[in-house]
Structure formats: C-alpha cells, structure tokens
Symmetry: D2
Subunit: 478 residues, 4 copies
Amino acid sequence: MPNSQSPITNVLAERYASPAMKAIWSPEGRILIERDYWIAVMKGQRELGLNIPVKAIKAYEKVKGNIDLASIDARERICLHDVKARIDEFSALAGYEYIHVGMTSRDLTENVEQLQVLRALELVRTKVVAALNKISERAVEYRTLMITGRTHNVPAQATTMGKRLAMGGQELLIAIDRLHDLVERYPARGLKGAVGTQLDQQTLFEGDAKKVLQLEEKIVEHLGFKRSLKNVGQVYPRSLDLDTVTALEQISSAAANMTNTIRLMAGQGLMTEGFLKGQVGSSAMPHKVNCRSSERVHGFCTLLKGYAAMASGLVGDQWNEGDVSCSVVRRVMLPDSFYAIDGLLEAYITVLGNMGVFEEAIAAENAVQLPFLATTSILMESVKAGAGREVAHEAIKEAALEASKFIRQGRGQEADLIGLLAKDERIPLGLKELQAIIGNSKRFIGAAPQQVDQFKREVAKWVKKFPEATKVKPGRML
Amino acid sequence: MPNSQSPITNVLAERYASPAMKAIWSPEGRILIERDYWIAVMKGQRELGLNIPVKAIKAYEKVKGNIDLASIDARERICLHDVKARIDEFSALAGYEYIHVGMTSRDLTENVEQLQVLRALELVRTKVVAALNKISERAVEYRTLMITGRTHNVPAQATTMGKRLAMGGQELLIAIDRLHDLVERYPARGLKGAVGTQLDQQTLFEGDAKKVLQLEEKIVEHLGFKRSLKNVGQVYPRSLDLDTVTALEQISSAAANMTNTIRLMAGQGLMTEGFLKGQVGSSAMPHKVNCRSSERVHGFCTLLKGYAAMASGLVGDQWNEGDVSCSVVRRVMLPDSFYAIDGLLEAYITVLGNMGVFEEAIAAENAVQLPFLATTSILMESVKAGAGREVAHEAIKEAALEASKFIRQGRGQEADLIGLLAKDERIPLGLKELQAIIGNSKRFIGAAPQQVDQFKREVAKWVKKFPEATKVKPGRML
Amino acid sequence: MPNSQSPITNVLAERYASPAMKAIWSPEGRILIERDYWIAVMKGQRELGLNIPVKAIKAYEKVKGNIDLASIDARERICLHDVKARIDEFSALAGYEYIHVGMTSRDLTENVEQLQVLRALELVRTKVVAALNKISERAVEYRTLMITGRTHNVPAQATTMGKRLAMGGQELLIAIDRLHDLVERYPARGLKGAVGTQLDQQTLFEGDAKKVLQLEEKIVEHLGFKRSLKNVGQVYPRSLDLDTVTALEQISSAAANMTNTIRLMAGQGLMTEGFLKGQVGSSAMPHKVNCRSSERVHGFCTLLKGYAAMASGLVGDQWNEGDVSCSVVRRVMLPDSFYAIDGLLEAYITVLGNMGVFEEAIAAENAVQLPFLATTSILMESVKAGAGREVAHEAIKEAALEASKFIRQGRGQEADLIGLLAKDERIPLGLKELQAIIGNSKRFIGAAPQQVDQFKREVAKWVKKFPEATKVKPGRML
Amino acid sequence: MPNSQSPITNVLAERYASPAMKAIWSPEGRILIERDYWIAVMKGQRELGLNIPVKAIKAYEKVKGNIDLASIDARERICLHDVKARIDEFSALAGYEYIHVGMTSRDLTENVEQLQVLRALELVRTKVVAALNKISERAVEYRTLMITGRTHNVPAQATTMGKRLAMGGQELLIAIDRLHDLVERYPARGLKGAVGTQLDQQTLFEGDAKKVLQLEEKIVEHLGFKRSLKNVGQVYPRSLDLDTVTALEQISSAAANMTNTIRLMAGQGLMTEGFLKGQVGSSAMPHKVNCRSSERVHGFCTLLKGYAAMASGLVGDQWNEGDVSCSVVRRVMLPDSFYAIDGLLEAYITVLGNMGVFEEAIAAENAVQLPFLATTSILMESVKAGAGREVAHEAIKEAALEASKFIRQGRGQEADLIGLLAKDERIPLGLKELQAIIGNSKRFIGAAPQQVDQFKREVAKWVKKFPEATKVKPGRML
C-alpha cells in the first residue's frame, strides 16, 4: 500500500478540459448555479405576493460566492441528505431561511443540471464556430493546392487541400445546425413538485394555478431557457440526455474524420499536425514526428460513443413518475461527455492552427499519380480523335497496369504511362498531345476552389452570429 | 439438412413492418426511387442543353414500373457490377441509352439512399403524430381519474391517469420536435462525382460550372430535398446517419417508457393493454393476460439502441474522400432501424387504442394509499392548529410506519392511519377534521387536468400540420 | 465564477468505490505497481548477467513507497515526458540509475496497466464469491417460502423466495465461470520493445535471444501472470480490454436482474431492500421507503454498458504496430469500469444483507392468486373425474375471467373462483375436492427447494476456493 | 408503388453468409433442430417409463425432414400460436400425438435456440482455426521479409511481414481461447417448466424428482451440451447472449485490425488484398485496385459492435421469472450476428489466401527509411567509439531532421542521412563504418522470425484439435 493517498481526480477534467468547461461542472460551479436558481425562485415568489423581505434576498445574493465544500460536507455527514446540507449552509451564510420554499429536491436538481447542460452546450457551440473559422482560414490558404484525392485509400481523382479541409468542415456545419437547434429548443423541467402535478406550489399560492404558471415562466425566462415542459413526472425525460450527448458525438465525428485523414497524410510524408513547442518525441526513435493530438481527437470521439451508449441505456427505462436508477449514470455521463468534447475541440483547434503541409512532397506524389488520374480524359480525347471506345479503354487499362507494375517492382516512381500510350498504335494521340492533357492538369481539380469559397461564406455567417468565437484560444496540450 | 431451403427473409420487415415502410426499402421500392432519380437527372440535363430526346425520356418513364429482379440479377452475374446491371436493364426496357451520363455510382446510390431515408422519416413523422393524437384522446378520457402516482416504484403523491399518459406524450413531443427539424434540414449529397469535385459533370457541360450548379439544384428540388451539401467527398458524412438513427431511438424512448408503466400497472391489476381479438394466452395458464405488445415496444427500443451503436461505429471512421467500409453496415442498419421504429409505432398505437383501465381497482388502491398520500397536508393543518412542526412530523411518521406494518403483516389493506392519528395527543386534529382532509382528496391531483389540456392543445397543432395522421391504422399484430 | 476551485474528483472513485479498488487505480497505487515492476526487471537482468549491483536494487526497494506526486509533476513540467519524470524521480530517491534499461515506455506502461487489470479482476472475483455466498445464505433462509411466480409481470405459477434468489445467483455463477477463466488465461504483453521484435533487449544481451526469453518469463511469473503473448506490436490487442469490460458487464447483469425484481416486489409491498441506519427518506413524503441501493445497482449496470461500448470502440481500430488513439479512452474506461463494478458489488452485497421479506403480505398475495395458479391441476383432476377436456377448459376459463373481474372491479381480493367452479355443472368436482387441491398447494413449488440446495452446493465450491470472500464487508452507502 | 413485391430477404444471410451457417438459422434448419429435440425428449420419457410406443417415435423420425413452411403458416393463422402450429404439423405428418408432453413453449424454444447458438459457435470455431491456419502459412512465407514497422502510422523500427501477420494472428489466438472456453461451458436451460420449478415434468412423473433430473440429463447430453443450468426462471439468463455476441465481436477485432493494416499498406503501394477473378474495379477509374474485402471485414466488425449493443440492452433487464421483451431482439440479434461473423470470416480467409505483397516496393521503402530506423544503433556505436552521448544524440537528431526535409521538399527519396553523419565531426564514425551498420540491417528485425515460429507452433495445436478446419473453403465473394 502506498504511504499516502490523495483524492482521485477526474482525468478528463484535470488533464484535458478548459477552465471554462470546468467552471460549469465543478462542485463550486454547480453550487453557484444552484444558488442563482434559488435566488431567482425567491424573487419570483416575492413578486407574486409571497412574503419574502428584499433584504433577505440581498443577503443571499451577497454570500452566494462564499462556497465552502468542507462545511457543506460536514453538514451532509450529520443530516445525510445532500440537498438539505446545501440549503442549511446557504441559509446559515445569509442569516435567513427563505430558500427552497414549496420545492422538492428534484425541483432544484433537475433544473440546475439542465442549466449546466444548457450553458455547456452554448460553450461548445462557441468552440465549434471557432473550429469552423480556423478550418475556413486554412481551406482558403490551400484553396487551389492540388492533391491526389483518394477513395478506398488509393489514388482516385485530383482535389485540393483546401477542398479536403472544407469537406471536413462541411460535416461540422451539419453538426452545428443540429446543436444550434437543440440549444434553441432545450426545455427546462420547471417547478413541478414530486410527481409533476405542481401540488406543492399550488398549496403555497393557495390554489392559484395562474400564479404557479407565472412563477415558472419568470424563473425559466430568467435562467435563459426558451421554454419549459408542461407534462412531466419527477424528472424530465431522459431521452433529452440522449439528444444532448449524441449531438456532441456528431460534432466529434467531424473532427475525427478530418484528423484520421491528417494521420494518413502524415504517414505518407505529405503533412504534419505540427510539433508543439518543447514536445519530446520518442526518446528511443528521435526521427519520429507523431500525430499525437490527431490520435487524441480520435480517442475523444471513442469516449463519446461510450457516453452515448450510457444515454442509450437510460432510454426507455423510466418506471411510473420516475426514480433514481439514472442518478449515478448522469453524475458521470453528463460532465464527462462535456469534458470529452471540450478536450476534443481544444486538441482539434490546436491541430488546425499548427498543422503544416509539405507542398513539395505533395507535388511529387501528384507527379507520380497524374498520368493515372488523367486516364478518363485520355480516353475521351482518344475517342474524339477517332479511336473505338472499347479498344482505347483496353489499351489504357493495359498500359496503366504495366506502369503500376513498374512502380511496385521498385524500379522508380516515374512510371512512363504517357510514353507507353504514345507508343501504342491503338491510341491515336502522340506524345505531345498526351503531355498537353497532363499539362492541363489544373482543370482536374474541378469545382474544388469554388466549393471552398462556398464553405467560407457559410462559416462567415456563423462567425457573425457568434463573434466571441474569434477569441477562443486553446490551452496548452499536455 | 432440411430437404429444401427458401430464401431467408428479413424478420423485421416481414413480421412487423407496415406495407408503406416496406415499399420504401424493398428491392422494388429502391429501384423505383432510383429510376425516378435517373429520369430527373435526364430532364435536368436536357433543360440545360444536353442532347437528350423527349421521346427517350418518355420511354424510360413508361417502363419504370417494370421491375424484374431476376433479370437484373442475371445481368449482375455476368458484369459483376450491381449498378451497371441496373443501368443495362432499365435502358434495355426503354430501348434508349441516356441514363447515368456523367455520373459515378455514388452519384446514384448516395442520393437514392438519402431519398429512402427522407421518405421513411416523413412516414415516421406521420405515425408519431398519429400516436400523439391517440395519446391525447386517451389522456382527455382519463383527465381527472385519480391514480396513485409512484416514484421509486412506491406510492408518492396522487396524479391522474390522463396526466400519466400526457407525461408519456410530452416525451414524444420533444422527440417529434427533433425529428421534424431533421426532416426539414436533411440535405442531399447531390451530383458531385468520384471525389466530390464535380469534375465529370463539368466536363459534360464543357466547363460550365454554372450549369452544373443549376442541374444539381433542379434535381435536389425535384426530389423533395430542401438543400444539398456543397463540400463532400465520395460520400455524405456518415454522422448524418447517426443523426437519423438516434432520432428514431429518441422516439422509441417515449413509447417504451409509457409501455413500461403499462406493464407495471398490469402487474398490479390496475389496467390491461387489451386483448387482441382471437389472441390465445398461455395454453398452460389460461388465467394470464400478458402485456405482449407493450413488451414488444420495449424490445424494438432495445433494437434501436443497437442500430444507434452501429451508426456510432461509422462515426469518425472515414479515410480521405471515403471508402466502402460502411457499406455492409448501412445495408443492414438503415432499413432495419426503420422497420424497427415502424413495428414499434404499429404496436404502440395498437396498445393506445385497445388498452383498458380498471377504475374500481384503481379506486381500491387509492383508498389504501390516500391516508399516506395525505400526510403532507395533515402535517400543515396540524401546524396551523397549533402543533410544533417537528413534534407533529414525528407523530405522523410513527403512525405511518405502524399503519404500513399492518398492511405488510397481511392484516388487511385498510390500515387505519387516520384512526391512529386521531388518537395521538400530539396531533391537535380530531377524526372529523382528519377525514375532511382525506375527503378533500380531489385537490391532491394538483394541476394534472390543466396539464392534460395543455398537452391536448400542443398535439392539436401537430395534427393540423399533418392531417394525414388521422388516417393511420395499425395492421394486425402477429 | 466561484471564488475558489479545488481539483475535480472522480465521482465513481470517491463516492462509490472501496479503498481496496482505489488502491489499485490511484496514482499512488499505479506508481507502486510500476516500481515493483522495474525492480522485478532489474532483478531478472542481474540474474541473467547484467551488471546491476545488489545494493542498488536494495536502495530502490527501500524507497519504493516514497511517492511524491507533486515532485513527479514538477519534473514532468520540465522534461515534458511522463515516463521519464517517473524514472528520474525513482532513481533520484534511490541514488542509482539502473531502472528501465533496454526498455521503451510501452514496455513499462502496457505491463503495469495489465497488472492493474489483473489485480482488479482478482478483487472483483473475491467480491463476486462474497455476493454468491450471501445469496446462498438468503436462498436457504427462504428455501420453501412460497411466492407467486410471475412471467410478463403477472402471476404465473408458484415458486419460492429462495428459488427466486437462487435464480439470480445462477446468473452470477455463469458470470464467475467466465471471469475466472479470464483471470486464469489473462496474458501479459511482456518486454517486447517499440514494435514488438524485442530488438532492444536482444541488443542489451548481445543477441542472446534465449536470455531475452528467460528474462521475460522470470518477470511475467514474478508478477503473477500465467503467461505472456509471443507476437505483439507496440501494444497488446485492445480486444483484450473488451474481454475484460464485458466480463464485468456480465456480472452486473446478474445483480441488476435480481435488484429489478426486488424493486418490483417492494412496489407490491412484498419486501424491502432494507433501510440503512440513519437514512432519511423523502422529506416531503415521510411514508416512503425507496429501493435506492437497488436502483443504484441498475445505474452501475448502465454505466458498464457504456464502458463496454468504449471497449467496442477500440476493437478493430489498430493501425500497423499500434498508436495512441486508444490512450485517453483507456485512461478513463479501465479505472472507471472497475470503480463501477466495485460500487455495484458494494451496493448489491449490502442489499442482500439488509433486505427483508414481508411474509404475511406474500401469504396474502398467494391466497388471492392460488386458485388461479391451481387451474392446471383443477383441469387435470376434472378430466380424471370424467369431464371432457375442452368442456372443462372452457368452464375454468370462464370462471377465471369472472373471478378476475371481481377483483378488478374492486369488490375485494378474495374472488371466489373455487365457489364458482363448485357450482358449475360442467366441473365434476365438489367444493371439498376443489379445496383439497388448493390445500395441497405445497406441491405447487415443484423442485424449487431442491434447486436451492443444488445452488448452495455450487456456491460452497467457490467459497472453498476463495475463502477470503467470507471476510468481505461492504462499506457504508452514501 | 412497384408492380409486384417479393418477400424482403435478409441481406446478411443471402448476400454474405455461407450455406452451413444459413442451414443452422433458416426456418427449415430451426424446425429440424426442434424436431430432433422433441424426438430426444420422447425417447428419454419412454426410457424413464412413460407409455410412448416405439413405432410412434419411429414415425416421427421418418417424417422429420418433411418441412412445409406454408402448411405451418396456414395452421398458425388459424390457431394464432406459433408453437402449437408446429406441434400440430409434425404430429399430423407422423400420425401420432406424443410430442411436447409436459412441456411449455419455453421448454422447447429456449433449448432449441441454445442449440442453434451452440452449433453456430462450433462452426465459427472451425472457421477461426481455418483463418489461423491460413495466417500461419502466410506468416511463414514472409517470415524474414523485412518491412518498415510503424507506430503512430509513421516509420518506427523494422519488423517482418511474417511477424506483422503473426501479430494479427496472436489476437485471434486470444479470441479463440475465449470462444473455446465458451463452447465448452455453454449450458442448456433444460426442461424447467413455466417458471423454472419443473412442476409439470414432476406431475408427469407423479412427483418422482429423480426421474425428472434423469430426463433432463439424458436430453442435454444427447443434444451435445456439456451441462445444464439448475436454477432458472422462464428463460436462461440473457447475459449468456452477451457472452456469445461479444465473443464473436472479439474475433472480428482480430480480423479487422489485420485488414486495416492491409488497407494502409495498399495505400502505400506495398501490397494488394488480391483481385478476385472477373472483378471489375471502378468503371470511371480503371487504374484502381480497391481493398473492398478488407473494408468489408471492417464493416462486419462494426455490425457486430451493434449486435453487442443489443445484447447489452438485454443485460440487467429481466423482471421476475422473465417475459418476452427480449423476443424481437433475439430474433434479430442472434442469427444476424452469426451471419455477420460468418461473412467476415469468409472475407478474411479469402483475403489471406489472395493477398499479394510487392517485395520490391517494400524494399524501396526500407531503403528510404533504413538510415532513420538505424539511428539507435548509430548512437550506440558512436558512444562506443568515444563520443559523448548527448552530443551524438543532438548530431543525429539534426541530421535526421535535415534528411527528412530533403524528402519532404520533394528532392527525392534518397535522403543522404549517412552522408550527413559521416561529414559531421561530432560523430566519430566514417562513411564505411556507418554503411556497415546499415549493411547489417538484417539484425534490425530482432526476434521477429522466431516469434513467427512460435506462432506456427501454437496454430498447429489448434489445427490438430480441429482438423476439419483444413477443409474450409470460402465461397465466392459478391
């Protein structure tokens, strides 16, 4: 046994997440949201006629930042009820007893947790816009840089590096559409009582159902929700957590697909995700430059699949008006999935900023592959020049296989496909004409640059809507 | 070995799904969508100046319904390319060769599969509205029928059967909000060529990028998509499939939570999901009335968790401009998840229509539980009448435990909690006053009826928007 | 923003896991295992001829318990390499530099993590035996206590409470068979070098492959593994983590299925999971006794489904000789899944110890249900006494429905099925004969008691094998 | 709507699975297993004294192969009970009524499904041995063929192609250990009656519990199970399905990891998975040779993750003695997961047989990378020759970066790292000595060939145990 033992920390929070995300989910952050919520309820109750003195509310407001976890913990060990311990602490600090009136524990905890989710979703939205903005910059930078596009991981047709980045960005645009929709419609459970009938608030307002509705509306609006649910039991439907966590997973997909391709390109010596200042590579293998951050993005994506599976586990699992079989799951799943997406976005934005493209190596690959990528054009020109389509197709195929063999046999990278075709009688084009086709290779990238422009315009709209995104700076990677 | 072997059928399609859903995903249904798509492309190409005769288009239109799977299969066994086989078949039927010009296989298959998804999502939306409508009817029917609400599966506070149904309906309202948003923004991949650069269509229109854009817009609009993606590779991002399948899973949650509660209530003899005409229960145990359809809803929900996990498996798994490692997954996951949600909705709507509530048994449970459910009110009235809060609380708790013991010891269901309290000197209320509190039990249901009304109004909006939902009739359960 | 922020702790570790499990996975615990491992390697290398002084090894052994996380952290911030920081710290403490010779980082970390897994699996095995032992005790206690068995959540046939517990235990017996098999064959990766070829150790021993093999065997055996893998790359295959985590999930199933049934029985007033001393129920609803620990078991099971999904995410995801895209996943998944199963077993063993069965309430349910459960026997006796089978079946079915209606209509619990049958002319049995059948109800439990005995014997074998299980005492639930 | 509609087939069964696997899971296959099972029960009952005529048993045996699905279907539409329909059909064919005596539906269906699982697991085991055998052959073939080992997808140290294959095979060896253990301990539910108490069989044998046990033992043994469960409810614990499906998933991991690496190598032009005879590549891009079968293996692995998630969904979800909420899940999950693993193994064995390695291209890559891979050795030799370790390390690192830049700048593949080092005064080695180190590159592969030998020996044990594996021939890929 070790000679001492410190508390075991949450590795996602402490190693990967940003201070802003930690502030939402930390015990202190949660208590602050909770106290804000209690204050909002008191204010609403006062406005609707309950006898709560203004100076009591002010007293609570004054001490809301005094958060002493040890004191709360000591209270819980006596009363064995976590919510009661936090009520007592806050009231003792304020010197009044006006919070939590007519409320059950779930009237507090459900809404507080939803506020954490909502604020965390908004933070994620900002960072996704920041990532889009960075992709847009880099896509514009490489708007016309021709690369060898690949399907099935083998050379297919030409595209541009900018377009490849915009392709990754397109997936993120789909994901932010969904995320934004979720934020806009994310509903609070509201003040509904133990089984959702609002009995206790009705009793408090002596049966005045209108006031109960007004109170809820005030609070919901004050907290920043756009709406509340009208028919709930003890809890809000847990499929809303599935909606939340899979929205994060969808974002992670867009990042992981792009970093997969970065890892593949790095493996072919075409680019690097960038070296962090001071980073030490392998001590045994000093020549290595590893895509560690890109791999990490992939890892976070895998974690989010797991948290989505936990959310799936809560789906269709409610009995009657609800119970707490979901409690331990949500204690883990909600913060940890947000730490994971936050860590992912930190890593992804870092990679987007630091990555470097080796243009000469790319050009060298293009030079090898271009004759192959041009075979469709050669076929069309041969037919125009009088060749039979099937005959020309066969000739080109034979030559392509012969040229591939040359490379595979290690005889060099410059397989002379053009030379082979020029010599082939079935092809009515001479060396010059064939070279002219290859020479006109700029055409091969099709509409890629215009697609990048289109992407840039779509991103600009999001940046205009959320200008705070331009200030996002990822922290230093560990 | 058996003496013969018929083709193995898809159990979800053949045993549970409706004809309308099967028509979308069957081989014949797919070919029909595919042929519509080819015709739309031809028309667009003709309008933009390509030389395609009107009578050729008419010829294709005339034969599009002649679907001979065996003939297509025979062609595939010769050319070993499934798309080519279907091109050849359609052109042979029409007597022309004008389809698939300037297209790669993925220009066809991606968009056709997306059309299947879009149409299936629309069908699901209609059925969800039908389910909501049915819930609304039943919730109104039982708007004020008091039941014993439960949390942690034990009696908590009163609610109404109508409110309990509306609570299940609320979750479905959240799910349809998401589903509707998805349908409205669901984007087509469009005509983008082998690596997404539109090179081949550009070549076809001799570099006229504007015409290429126009062609895509025409087709996308014609097919019913609201928009298309601008930056893709060979494929559309697979996280869009995650969006789709988890939207279905979210719907399934709302149904499964409700049917869980039906199973629980049936176990307590409070209701039945209804007996299908002609249904035979257990042959060995003739007294049994099993919630088989409710259990089936739960099963479909579990299936959808699995299909969502498959979609998760595709997330973050793309290399470069794409490959076919997702092919076999999507061949299974897409149709099967739609068959599952379709079977679920068939079963759920059936249960909602056939279920019966045993009002007397519910009343009997209420009679047993009411004194317990009233303890909060008794406490408040005792304090008003001069008792100390802590003293009264202790007295009530003791009496409640004593009364519970009476029931647990099997001495009867009518534990005399009221009698015990009336005799307790710490409680300043007499038997009559206590009985008056219980007698005023209608108040215990709080705002439940008004919440049902609110639910009804929200459902009515959806039904108005999608009136075809009122015509949905589930098929006979197997 | 809160006015201070302490490190965010791991809620699973700090709130639910036992000290023994935390000791394996805490930073200190890991460092201790790591130092043991380095010492084992040094000893092996020395025995095989490398020049490592005995007093150096002793010096390392002497300081291995001096674990100063802050000092290690300070070192890492300078050299930016976590393994190097820990090497430097340990060597500085010892005053020698003999550890990690000829090793790469993965030669350390892979084996250390596997040791953590192996020791955690062994701890889980002990606790599963403890749970089995507790189930066995309770099953024997209720060996012949007849209860109303249910399928589809409605009364089906009689069984005993002991048998119901043994049924839950049976599933755990299957799970421990698998777990035990896994522990026995769990293989170490071993000392294999950067890509698995053992190049560096070969160089160290000047090409002597035999010594390299011997070294590995010594270390593997010393650490408690039964074998090592012979062909690996940088890492051991991650599907071994799937094997591990799903073995834990399988255990959780056995517990969650049993606690589901406890929650159902509690909902019917037939039993309680027990009240923890000092536990406060609902402050608003003092009559409630909630199955919180049973619900928590269900929650842990759901968490494990999520961790299993993370393990699934690592499956089939290796490239070449390996990379670190799994790193962040395993940092979370491995400890957290073990904390979860540990918390689950703590809760489950507590419930098994504290639960109470309300025998009178059970008897009351049996009294209501017995006539229904006896219908099969009545049918058989009627036929023996001369009735036509179909006629008698119809008569019984009608009477059963009539009697059910009586209960459902709230007219009482004692539906007079027997009386109805006695009056029915189609049934050739009189009231006495019918009562005799019901009176002989002990027979209805079939082989349930003998099955319990069989279960007891099987559990006894495990307890004999792992006698330390009898000393397991769960900590206090929070 | 299409003008006709054939039944929708199961795409996994009809497109990918082998005849042997289909024979187990087809309706006909299931009925055959079911009839065998009924016959086994009759024989057992007769031997234990029940009055069942030998000629009746013979009559059943004679007609067991006459399977007429349409006739059974017609019966089901009348009686609305699937098991009853199959009983009636079989008895009508035989002309007797002796099957299913004293059995409930689950006594039939649970055991029959378990038999399907067991036989399918055995088939999978044979195919895994076949795959191992094929890997072993290829690994021996390329035992010493040096390749550039990669971690983080970039060159790390040398290994051999044979070792890389054996590494993939190692993961499969772990998986077969688990699979084999599962097959050996896979337990039957047995004849347990409606709630597991064996009441009905006890009644049949007039309370003779011993005969009931003997009957079960006879049947279980006859069918090929090694044991049966003693304590069950209506169903066997569904976590056994998790055990089954995750065992398949674990196998799929070993295949998918290997084919991932094949896809990566193909992308670098180092190998091909082989071209199927007659296979047509891209019609638009004739030069492409795609790893379609390797990608398909990855797809099947993803499917299995989904089926494992379905199994997870059944875990911890049982109520009381069981219900049918798992029914539709298992109808899909069990056959489909076996079709998927079967399709995967068909594809994997095909790839292992057809793949080709481009030795010259590999040699060319080695030539480029060797100086980098040799840096560790150069460092060691420099130190031996008197250089300071840190000075030499710095010099090598600088030279390595310079040489990398040369390649990245597209100036050629032959970066002269050796030349740079020879000129560097900090390195006390001349060009000849440096070339000697590179020249001795055979040593770089370490123990790779011996590891292959070890792998071969381990595989040989499995082949000896299951010699039928040598006869496995995959069908033609579609």
